[in-house]
Symmetry: C2
Subunit: 349 residues, 2 copies
Amino acid sequence: MKRKITLKQIAKELDVSISTVSKALRNSVEISEDTKQKVQAFAKLYNYRPNNIALSLKNRKTNTIGIIIPEIVHHFFSKVISGVETVANNRGYNVIVGLSNESFSKEVINMEMLANGSIDGFILSISKETLQQQDYHHFNETMSQGMPIVMFDRVIADIKCDKVIVDDYKGSKNAVEKLITNGCKSIALITTKDYVSVGKLRTQGYLEALHEHKMTPKAELILKIDDTLDYEVHLDALELEIEQLFKSNKKIDGVFAVNELYALSAMKVARKLGLDIPNDIQVIGFTDGVLSKHATPSLTTVSQHAQQMGETAANLLIDKLENEFDDEKEEEFQTVVIATELIERESTK
Amino acid sequence: MKRKITLKQIAKELDVSISTVSKALRNSVEISEDTKQKVQAFAKLYNYRPNNIALSLKNRKTNTIGIIIPEIVHHFFSKVISGVETVANNRGYNVIVGLSNESFSKEVINMEMLANGSIDGFILSISKETLQQQDYHHFNETMSQGMPIVMFDRVIADIKCDKVIVDDYKGSKNAVEKLITNGCKSIALITTKDYVSVGKLRTQGYLEALHEHKMTPKAELILKIDDTLDYEVHLDALELEIEQLFKSNKKIDGVFAVNELYALSAMKVARKLGLDIPNDIQVIGFTDGVLSKHATPSLTTVSQHAQQMGETAANLLIDKLENEFDDEKEEEFQTVVIATELIERESTK
DNA sequence: AGACCTAACGCAAACGTTTTCGTGTTAAAA
DNA sequence: TTTTAACACGAAAACGTTTGCGTTAGGTCT
């Protein structure tokens, strides 16, 4: 078990100084051709690679970016990571992941762990608990220490940093308009409580679409799910709520759901009630998930282009990291909006 | 934009030496109560945290583990990461992810990037391309440098390292036996080409189950898919193959598929051919996926307990990292087998 | 021959820690 | 009063790099 070889060991073996070895390997003109050859050959033989940690310490730059997400077992988030990773690797960075599990304290702890030198900047999506408590001190503290943050999807307007979001409002509006165009007269909305910003925006899009088409929104058609429960395990509870919605509003002929699971549950309930999709009732969901594609009938959804979001976020962050020229010239932050796309499948006409 | 405060700065402000500050913060008996109080108060005020990189360099230990997986947008792998992350965090480690994208060269590059000091050890699942080429030099080189590796799921017998696997053989055998018990007389197998070890083992389980029940396996009932194609995009090709299988073997009343997608496609094709599930034909898949649960009908599957695999792998690795006492006493490697579990849903009787 | 240049290399500092080993001061013991 | 020991602290090395600058040797010029 031979440890990795260091400059010092090479220097000793070749009977030169450490600096000579270093310079020789970097092809410095200060070093004679002879010595360079000798050193480089030796280094190659022993497969020398500079120690990253030492470099990080010296350069005060780790070439690593941290990504903090609420959960990883989720198609959207893992796709974002994939995007981040691709760009990061291409630009010479590593990616270190932290999971908040939708918990405020885990988010804080994770950020503190990474902020102590391990990484150069953050890419993150805020946990639900943090959004509820509206305690954002850890973001501000991190940034005040000169560590840039790029937020994606779940963001907060008050915080000054780069952001990558999807146009939830427009995406939803388009989806609902599609339902209207397709002849739906009574469109239900299945959404989350308002503290999740994306849920709120998608609700607004729904309302606006109705409004523009002179349809009056009805409160009884809007189902706000309390998503603090984990509906992956309490599926039946969710379905029960939806069933009641359907039963007390028999004229419903269209459903817009703010995520995949709600939409799938709606389809399941509809089928159970003997409704045909898409003839009796049409359904559209919001997400990039794998369920939509493989459901029966397959689900029409609003795609968020998660991969692209990750790529964009990574590029924004690395750009900022590598443009240190901006000393004192009033830092600028951008918000990139990723266009949504309506992917039509079998759940709509 | 104030940089993070260092020991040196504290020392300067308080007019003591760096060592005094360090000792005071670590509550050394060498330092007077007075000084400790002063230093600790100051450190707290300025929110001092030791620089991780400096610590890593000094201790030659990064407290970070690297995980390399073929792809992250995959329920199984993201669940494994989740398990790794949980254990790692609890035991004071960070997790840095590398994606091989099933490519040999990306696997090698990623490992080289991380092996230069960034991490203390690897957790990985081998890429398909590597399995095909059977080139494992990067694993051996990494380990010969004293960096431990824990492999999971896709492993190779020849390589001496800790492993966490699922009993693919027994899991498959159980699944097929379930079909037999449920009355299936003609059971088809949808699997991958043999170079993916798990595909091979699952095929063997299928054969053994038939054998034990005096059923003779028929070659025409075994469909080996060439999974170098990405069937997430070429779904129709996959379905076509399955359709031909069904059409040329009309007596098929049971299907065992080695993964979720194959199983779902089989169900889809069956439905298309007017077969009722589970009455005309029963289907079992192999995986932990989210599709199985939400499909209609929901799919009976062999669960791999991915989360548990991740947790086990992380514990194995960290145990090894923290037991350096084993100098020269013939390192021992263990292979932990995670029990599979048959989760019965609607696709079987 | 003296002054000067240049090639080729080494020294040392720096990054931020921790820790071993001094060292100076003071109070207690002789 | 002198010796000793406890106490409180600082200097320096070490982890592995990179780099500015100093140094040496030899050669060139006048």
